[in-house]
């Protein structure tokens, strides 16, 4: 990529991208930690996650302000405009990921008080690894401007959905077998749902990266599992 004739403009764009990458790193860490709180019943870590969420909110506001200022002062067009808008949109997706991680941490506090349900938390952990892997890959795709990698993340969304489905059935079995587990299982169901949503945000980010880099939309014909609601 050729340099901007006005260097400060190029610097501002690079700075914006770097901020988003930094925010992505933090959001990813929050999600990873939230899964650890569930599996290890770590109350202190959960409280840390809840306390750190403000930082992500602040970063998102910051990125949005910088992008608005850049649009007002530099009037970016073509790839520069797509890059600026992508930064805004990705940051808001990351902020949502942070909120979901915080919600998982809050549920971890409740779940920690009940009897451990190791097989279930193992399933959550597997799903969590899958989701954090996708989040990491999509953020790598963003920092390396790698459209193939972004599309790769997009394709793998189905795996997360499948995991969610099987976890849903697993939780139902537990609840039917022993009604005393309903409280914990209900929380774990929300945890699984949150993870699935984080996966959706990773998919969104993949689509945003695709548009940023190519100027083309992805048509997303994603198969839905209608049996989820059954």
């Amino acid at each position: 990529m050729t340099e901007h004739t006005v260097k400060a403009y190029g610097d501002e764009l690079n700075h914006l991208t770097a901020e988003v990458a930094r925010m992505g790193g933090l959001a990813e860490a929050q999600v990873v930690d939230s899964i650890v709180c569930i599996t290890r019943r770590d109350v202190n870590l959960a409280q840390n996650i809840i306390a750190h969420d403000d930082k992500l909110d602040q970063m998102q506001i910051d990125i949005e302000r910088k992008a608005i200022k850049l649009i007002a002062l530099r009037q970016p067009v073509a790839q520069d405009l797509r890059r600026t808008v992508a930064a805004m949109k990705i940051s808001s997706n990351l902020e949502r990921c942070g909120d979901l991680a915080k919600n998982i941490a809050k549920r971890a506090l409740v779940v920690s008080e009940a009897e451990p349900m190791t097989p279930l938390t193992r399933s959550i952990e597997r799903m969590g690894h899958l989701v954090t892997g996708r989040l990491k890959d999509v953020l790598d795709a963003y920092t390396s401007s790698n459209v193939t990698r972004a599309v790769g993340v997009w394709w793998r969304d189905e795996e997360v959905d499948e995991h969610y489905n099987s976890l849903f059935r697993e939780l139902l079995t537990y609840m039917m077998a022993d009604p005393r587990t309903i409280t914990s299982c209900a929380h774990l169901l929300f945890v699984a749902k949150n993870l699935e949503r984080i996966g959706d945000h990773a998919t969104n980010i993949a689509e945003i990266i695709h548009f940023e880099l190519t100027g083309e939309d992805m048509i997303t014909h994603r198969p839905k599992h209608s049996d989820i609601e059954s």
Binding site: T5, A78, R82, E216, T220, H221
Partner: protein, 292 residues
């Protein structure tokens, strides 16, 4: 972003563009591809294989473009890229330069403008031109506008001429500002008013095409906004071609944009496409301010 529906197979494909057929870029080798038909309004001006030489020096290379009627087409590109040269081909202004030689065909409504049977004076009434610096005649405001219709015999009497002057000044958005001083010299108006006066002068002879060569580069932002508003109104009646150094202006006023570089038409297409997703890296570099 997660669509509903369970029967779809998974696929990744680019969205079909509405006007993909009308968005063309030259190939990597610099070869010009023939422009596809302009969608929407019909083609007013069709240029093919335009080469222009100033003496030994070639200024334009194989330019081919379709310009639709009742819309604004902007030409952008760095200084010396040939955009004004090409503009001047359209009303044979290059005829006035002895060393200038033009080859290729420019058709207006299917008629070759360089045909021997075409009188350049009549052609220039059909294809009006507005320049960078406002150039009113050193005459009254009224005479500036009345001059063209009078020499082309468009009015039979004073009343008719008055009506043409008034309607032209109204369409140029100048009437309310000058109606009480029509006999004062046109050169006494402000720069923006003078530019609107010469636009009124151009439209008074009932042209079909208006060529504008950087019409706002000598104007302040408010006067520029008035001219841009005027351009937007005029496109309902005329085919307008504007050369501009302001990318923002091209983006604001035109429906189609053509990017010239070193005498070649690099890319032309719908303005929103050019400014969000240009196909050629040279266009991208130019409009984002990376050229050089």
């Amino acid at each position: 972003m997660t669509p509903n529906g369970s029967s779809f197979s998974r696929s990744v494909m680019p969205m079909n563009r509405d006007d993909s057929a009308s968005h063309e870029a030259s190939t990597a080798s610099g070869e010009q591809t023939a422009p596809a038909a302009v969608s929407g309004p019909s083609v007013k001006i069709r240029a093919r294989d335009i080469n222009v030489f100033y003496g030994e020096k070639q200024a334009l290379f194989d330019v081919a473009i379709d310009i639709p009627e009742k819309s604004v087409t902007s030409f952008i590109g760095p200084s010396g890229c040939g955009k004004s040269t090409f503009l001047r081909c359209m009303n044979r202004m290059n005829d006035t330069i002895p060393i200038c030689r033009v080859t290729g065909a420019i058709e207006m409504d299917g008629e070759d403008v360089n045909d021997r049977s075409i009188d350049p004076v009549v052609l220039r009434a059909r294809v009006g031109m507005v320049f960078q610096k406002p150039n009113p005649f050193p005459k009254s405001i009224y005479e500036n506008v009345a001059y063209g219709p009078r020499i082309h015999g468009l009015a039979t009497g004073k009343d008719e001429l008055d009506a043409i002057v008034e309607s032209s000044l109204r369409r140029a958005g100048l009437w309310d500002e000058v109606s009480d001083r029509l006999l004062q010299p046109g050169t006494g108006l402000s720069g923006g008013q003078q530019q609107r006066l010469v636009i009124a002068r151009a439209i008074a002879v009932g042209p079909e095409v208006i060529l504008m060569d950087e019409p706002c580069s000598a104007l302040d932002p408010i006067a520029t906004a008035k001219i841009e508003e005027l351009i937007d109104e005029l496109r309902e009646q005329f085919c307008i071609v504007i050369v501009t150094h302001s990318m923002a202006q091209a983006a604001r006023v035109s429906q189609r944009t053509a990017f010239f570089h070193m005498g070649r038409l690099v890319e032309s297409g719908a303005t929103d496409e050019i400014f969000t997703n240009p196909r050629d890296s040279r266009t991208q570099d130019y409009i984002t301010g990376r050229f050089g």
